[in-house]
C-alpha cells in the first residue's frame, strides 16, 4: 500500500490513468516541466512528453475551451487551473459552453473532461487566492462537482471523474494538500461512485455534514464532542453535484439534529440547499432547526482568515445550539 498526501495521490492517479488510456492529456500553466505550482502533475511530463502534458500560456479561457474541443473530438483532457480564483477568466467556457454542450446538441455530443483546481483559504492568500467557488458550479446544471477531503477519496473520485462522460469540476482543498498522509489503494481501478458521500464517524446525538477543506475542522469538532460524551455522525459529502441526498436524509432522520459546515460564503451555499432539502423532506423528524456554520458574506480577508473560516469553536457552538434547542 502506498502512503501518500493528497497532492501526491492526485499526481499518481493522473499517471496511472494516462498509462491506462492514451486519450488522456493534461494541460495548464506550468503543468509540464515544472510539474504544476503545487506539484500535482509532477512526473507526468517525463513519463509522457509534451504532446500529452501540455504547458500552456496564461490563458484560462483558452485552456478550458481547448479542453472542450479535445473532449468532444475524442481525447480525455484534464485541465488544471492553478488556483480556483483564476477560473473566472475562463468561466464562460466552463459554465456556458462545457456545461451546456450535451443539452444544446440534443444529446448528440458531450465533453468528457475534468477541470482541476485548488480551492479554499487558510494559506493567507488574500481575496484572489483563497476563494471557494463551488456555489457557482453547483448552480450550473450540466457540470458535476467534486470536492474531496482525503487522499483516498481524491484517488477514487478523480479516477471516476476521468472515466466519466461529463464535464467535472474537481476542487482540491489546497490547505489539506500536504496536511495528512494516508494509505491509498494500489488497485489501478479503484474508483468511487458518482454522487456518493461517506460516513466518517457514527454517533446518535448530532449529524455534522461537510466537505472539502472544512472536513478537517468538522472531524476535529466531532473528536472534541466525543470527549464531552457527545457522539456525532460525520458525513463527508465528497460530491457536491450530485450530492448524496439519500445518505443525508437517512442519517439526519435517524438523529434529528444537524449542523452543516462549509467555508464558502453563506448565501446560497451548497449546505443551504442541503438544509432546505432536509426541511422539505423530513421536517417532522427534526428535533431542532438545521444550523449552518459557513464562511461569511464578505470577500475573503487576509488578516482575519482564521476568523473567516468555520473553526472548531464555531462548529461546537452550533452543536450546542441544536442540542439545547
Amino acid at each position: 500500500m502506498a502512503v501518500q498526501t493528497f497532492v501526491q495521490t492526485v499526481a499518481r492517479t493522473l499517471m496511472q490513468e494516462m498509462r491506462r488510456d492514451d486519450r488522456v492529456v493534461v494541460l495548464g500553466q506550468d503543468v509540464g516541466k515544472r510539474g504544476g505550482v503545487f506539484l500535482a502533475t509532477e512526473g507526468l511530463f517525463d513519463a509522457f512528453g509534451p504532446d500529452r502534458v501540455i504547458d500552456t500560456p496564461l490563458s484560462e479561457a483558452a485552456i478550458i475551451g481547448a479542453a472542450i474541443g479535445m473532449a468532444v473530438h475524442g481525447l480525455r483532457p484534464v485541465a488544471e487551473v492553478q488556483f480556483s480564483d483564476y477560473v473566472f477568466p475562463g468561466f464562460d467556457q466552463l459554465v456556458s459552453q462545457a456545461a451546456k454542450l450535451r443539452y444544446r446538441s440534443g444529446g448528440s455530443f458531450h465533453a468528457p473532461m475534468v477541470v482541476r483546481m485548488p480551492a479554499g483559504g487558510g494559506v493567507k492568500g488574500g481575496h484572489h487566492h483563497s476563494q471557494n467557488p463551488e456555489t457557482h458550479f453547483v448552480h450550473t446544471p450540466g457540470l458535476q462537482v467534486v470536492y474531496p477531503s482525503t487522499p483516498r477519496d481524491a484517488q477514487g473520485t478523480l479516477r471516476t471523474a476521468m472515466r466519466g462522460e461529463d464535464p467535472v469540476v474537481f476542487l482540491e482543498p489546497k490547505r489539506l494538500y500536504r496536511a495528512v498522509k494516508e494509505e491509498v489503494s494500489d488497485d489501478p481501478d479503484a474508483t468511487l461512485p458518482v454522487g456518493k458521500g461517506v460516513l466518517r464517524r457514527e454517533g446518535d446525538d448530532v449529524v455534522l455534514i461537510s466537505y472539502g477543506a472544512s472536513m478537517a475542522e468538522t472531524v476535529q469538532a466531532a473528536a472534541a464532542l466525543a470527549q464531552q460524551g457527545i457522539e456525532a455522525d460525520v458525513i463527508d459529502l465528497r460530491w457536491l453535484l450530485p450530492w448524496d441526498e439519500e445518505l443525508v436524509l437517512e442519517r439526519v432522520a435517524r438523529v434529528g439534529r444537524v449542523v452543516l459546515v462549509s467555508e464558502a460564503p453563506r448565501t446560497a451555499n451548497l449546505v443551504s440547499e442541503v438544509a432546505a432539502t432536509i426541511a422539505e423532506e423530513i421536517l417532522d423528524m427534526l428535533e431542532a432547526p438545521p444550523v449552518r456554520v459557513t464562511g461569511f458574506d464578505t470577500p475573503y480577508p487576509y488578516a482575519q482568515d482564521r476568523a473567516y473560516l468555520p473553526g472548531v469553536n464555531r462548529i461546537l457552538y452550533a452543536v450546542q445550539q441544536v442540542l439545547e434547542y
Binding site: 500560456p57 496564461l58 480564483d85 484572489h128 487566492h129 480577508p301 487576509y302 488578516a303 482575519q304 473567516y308
Partner: protein
C-alpha cells in the same frame, strides 16, 4: 527563434538630450534603492514566516517603476499587479502603510484585508494591485477615459507582465484603448518569465511590442534595466497620451532575479543566465554610471543612509501596529447595505 531575450546592451539607453538633471536622477536612485531595501526586508521576513502568505518581490525591475513614475504627474493613475511593491513605492504609497498591509495590521493600506498582493492608495493615484493577471488593464483604461471626459489631462498606466499578454482582457483593453484614443500606457514589464514559463516558450511574436501591430497602436521596446532608458521611453509614451495621441504599448525589458514568489526555488532559471543579468543590475549600473551623470559617491551614500532609516522605521512601526479585530472583517464590503 525568438529574439526576445537578446536586447541590445544599452546602459545609456536614453537618446541624447534626454538624460535628466542630477537631482532628478538622484530621486530615481532613491526610489530604486527604497524598493530594493524594502523587498530585501520582505524576502527575509517571508523566509522567517513573519510575513504570511505569498510575497512577490521586484528584484531586477526597479528601474522600470522608478523611470516610469518619474515621467508621471502625481495625479496620474497606475494599475499594478500582485508584484506591486515597487510600483507602490514609486507612486508614493507610504512605506509604513505598505509594511502594515504585509503584516496584516490596521495601519495597512487595506487595513490588513489585502496583504502583499493588494496594496492600493487612491490618494497617490495607485488604483490597486490585482492578484488576477491582467485584471488591471481595462480598469486603467476606464480611469484614462474618465480623465479624457473630464479634460483633466491625466494619464493612466497599466502595468502587467510578459505572461499577461495571453489573457483576453489584455487584447480587449488594447482594442478599446485604440478605438477610443484613450490616454493610457500599456506598460509591459518583460522580466522574461511568467512563473516557470520562459518567454521563448510562451511568446510567438519576437517581441511584446510587436503585438501592438494588431491594434495599429504605437509601440516601443526599451531597456528596462537602465532607469534613464526606462524614463525616456515612458516620457515619450506619457506625452503622447497627454497630448491626445492615444495609447502606447511600451515594453520594458528586465529580468526576474528572484523566483516567482519568495520561497520559489527558481530551479528553472539557469544560474548562468541569472548571473549574466545580474551584471546589469539596475542599481549597481546606476552607481557605476553616477559620476559621468554628475552624481557624487557621497550623494549616493547619503541616499543609502536615508533609505535604510526610512525602511527600518516603516517596518518597526508596522510591527508595533495593532491587528484588526476579527469583527472588522465585516467592514467595507459595501458602501451601503440596508
Amino acid at each position: 527563434m525568438s529574439t526576445a531575450r537578446t536586447i541590445p546592451p544599452a546602459p545609456n539607453g536614453a537618446a541624447a538630450g534626454e538624460t535628466p538633471p542630477p537631482d532628478a536622477l538622484l530621486a530615481m536612485y532613491t526610489t530604486m534603492l527604497t524598493m530594493r531595501r524594502f523587498d530585501e526586508r520582505v524576502r527575509d521576513l517571508s523566509a522567517a514566516k513573519a510575513i504570511p502568505g505569498y510575497a512577490h518581490t521586484y528584484f531586477g525591475s526597479e528601474a522600470i517603476a522608478a523611470g516610469v513614475m518619474a515621467a508621471l504627474r502625481p495625479d496620474d493613475w497606475i494599475a499594478s499587479t500582485y508584484r506591486c511593491h515597487g510600483h507602490a513605492i514609486a507612486k508614493g504609497v507610504a512605506l509604513e502603510a505598505m509594511a502594515g498591509e504585509l503584516y496584516g495590521r490596521t495601519t495597512g493600506t487595506a487595513k490588513g484585508k489585502g496583504g502583499s498582493m493588494h496594496v492600493s492608495d487612491f490618494d497617490v493615484g495607485m488604483l490597486g494591485a490585482f492578484g488576477i493577471v491582467a485584471a488591471g488593464i481595462p480598469i486603467a483604461l476606464g480611469a484614462a477615459l474618465t480623465a479624457m471626459r473630464k479634460g483633466t489631462g491625466q494619464v493612466a498606466v497599466a502595468f502587467f507582465g510578459d505572461g499577461a499578454v495571453h489573457q483576453g482582457v489584455f487584447h480587449e483593453g488594447a482594442g478599446l484603448a485604440m478605438l477610443w484614443n484613450a490616454p493610457v500606457v500599456l506598460l509591459c514589464e518583460n522580466n522574461q518569465y511568467a512563473e516557470a514559463t520562459a518567454i521563448e516558450y510562451h511568446l510567438n511574436t519576437s517581441t511584446i511590442a510587436d503585438m501592438a501591430c494588431a491594434y495599429a497602436m504605437p509601440a516601443e521596446r526599451a531597456d528596462g534595466m537602465d532607469v534613464v532608458s526606462a524614463y525616456a521611453a515612458a516620457r515619450r509614451a506619457v506625452e503622447r497620451a497627454r497630448t491626445g495621441g492615444g495609447p502606447t504599448l511600451l515594453e520594458l525589458v528586465s529580468y526576474r532575479f528572484s523566483g516567482q514568489y519568495e520561497g520559489d526555488a527558481q530551479g528553472y532559471q539557469p544560474p548562468e543566465e541569472i548571473a549574466r543579468w545580474r551584471e546589469r543590475d539596475p542599481i549597481t549600473t546606476f552607481e557605476r554610471l553616477a559620476p559621468e551623470r554628475g552624481i557624487s559617491t557621497e550623494a549616493l551614500a547619503r541616499v543609502a543612509d536615508e533609505v535604510d532609516r526610512a525602511v527600518d522605521a516603516a517596518f518597526a512601526a508596522a510591527e508595533r501596529a495593532p491587528f484588526p479585530e476579527p469583527d472588522d472583517l465585516f467592514d467595507d464590503v459595501y458602501v451601503s447595505y440596508p
